[in-house]
Amino acid sequence: MARSGAAAVPLLRYVAKRLLWAAVVLVLVSFFAFLVIQLPPGDFLDSYVETLRRSGMSVDSATLVALRHAYGLDRPMVVQYWSWFSRFLQGDMGVSLLYVKKVNVLIMERLPWTLLVTTSSMVLMYVISIPIGIYAARRQYSLGDFAASLVAFTGMATPGFLLALVLMWLGYLIFGVSIGGLQSPQFIDQPWSWAAVKDLLWHLPVPLFVVAIAGMANLIRTMRGTLLDELGKQYVTVARAKGLEEGVLIRRYPVRAALNPIISSGGWLLAELFSGETVAGIVLGLPTLGPLMYRALLAEDMYLAASCVMIMSILTVIGFLVSDIVLAFTDPRIRLS
């Protein structure tokens, strides 16, 4: 009891340190998101006036000056940044000109779908690539190893949008229907039922596969590489010499050691998944954050776009944090250093 208490202190200190850094990183991310808002020529009001003009209304210059003052757009950049960031922290992300809705409402509609797609493709990625990596390392230079490398490399070399397009095309050829989206039209905005869940499961595989494949290639290669390094170490030879059964030996020691780099890449993987989700989402028409951001960028709806960048980055930062903490649990060297 006393021993576990003593071990918890460095771990707590480590977690506290990571939390602090995560906060610093988040502030930096908010600078970037604010930069996204500021980059296009003109400001929020210019685009707003442009939207009004297109629909036939006009705004006189006195009103414009008054509005600009009301929104604080005539104040220094730092003040503008602070008012944007403090409101963002309170959950007020501004208004989307494109959808004429509050940004946080739009994001909340899509966040669950984004989490569903990213987390399940992450699980899919681990479930597929770790066993393949282990197999490839144990049977180095076998036909299976070669096939795994080939698939991994091809997955790495194929742009996600291309894969999504080709799979959609195949689905169109084979089933004669478009497999885009996550739900069939008749289930959208309807209460959940068994039929709706079945429909969702039918739609999920293609997006998940597209999102997962790019990172999968990397995972297989990392797993194979680190496991090969571990298998060459002396403790494996010693364990074999002492007559430990091969399967037990592999599972109990080298695989556990080789999993550490995989765990530490978890946060980085999440960032990759958001990239994949954005690309797949646009091509396959998924109700996730990526396509929302894409449409916002094209329409210069900057508050929406910046909020999407912000939310995705926050989720990634959380991912980094979780993977660091998990790593501290599994690898004692981390929490003691």
Partner: protein
Amino acid sequence: MIDTVTSRHSGSQWQLMWAKFRHHKLALASLGVLGVFYSIALLAPFLAPYDSWRASRFAFAPPNRIHMFHQGHLMRPFVYGIKMTSDARTFDRSITPDTSEVWPVRFFVRGDPYVWLWMVHSNLHLFGVDSGGQINLLGTDILGRDCLSRDIVSTQISVTVGMVGVFITFVLGCLIGGASGYYGGVVDNAVQRFMEFVTCLPTIPMWMALGAAIPAQWSNLKVYFTITVILALRSWTGLSRQVRSKLLQLREEDYVIAAKVAGASDWRIILTHLLPGFASYLIVSLTLEIPRMILGETTLSFFGLGLRPPTVSWGVLLQDAQNLAAISVYPWLMFPAILVVVCVLAFNFLGDGLRDAADPYKE
């Protein structure tokens, strides 16, 4: 005795690397493939049968086939003419070969004028048919432009984006990673945190956000360089991490301390003792960075946030294949996709081969 040992291990570092690299057949083949890609890029206007912007009246003409037999007679390779027919009932236009016209394929023909490498004015093309006929080995696009010519010319942009981007990556990575490893302490800590921040931004959304901010009125050249800078903004982190860790590791080596004791200057130590120690690692990681940039440019351009017409890159060309209808009816529009995959694969295999060759501890 000493001779037999050294004969197996003699030669400069680069000779040894090359000897090892040669055994990696896949990497060697990839080097050849990349040689072909860059030669195509260099000679693009000569290899392309047409100007990439020359429109014709045959939109979406399917690829020509090269024939050897005409009405049972063996002839020199030729293509048939094409004609447009419309269905009397549905008014559906279709483009079919016109077997009454025979256009022999000729080499070194005069055709559309071009300027090669900003200097040489010419109109010589590797192959083509006499004027009046039309050869579209990969079909035509919506404006009747020759797809093969466009694929060839787009190679120029697509394969150089990676090169220019990697140069920027190299400079940024060496400077930042070098400062981080050399000064250590506060600088190192700040750089590490900043890199953590960059890694936390999801790559493609970040690229998209920056790509969308490029003003529409900018010139093609300006857009091109901005895109390479945007791509490099993400990739320097990997390189700088490597430079830093290598620098930290090599600094403590006995031979560096020996050089210091012997009175060598900092520059001499860096240039003659440290640099050769990790130059090979830099080359490997740069080689693996190029395909990522090529993919990044293709993805950005495909979504209309990267390069834009009239610049043609693989991603810009693939925009035409954005919907299912286009792919299923005009599959030849997808050809640039094959170029992307082959080129990126070749770079990855090459990088892998180089990595094995550069590792002196690997037999």
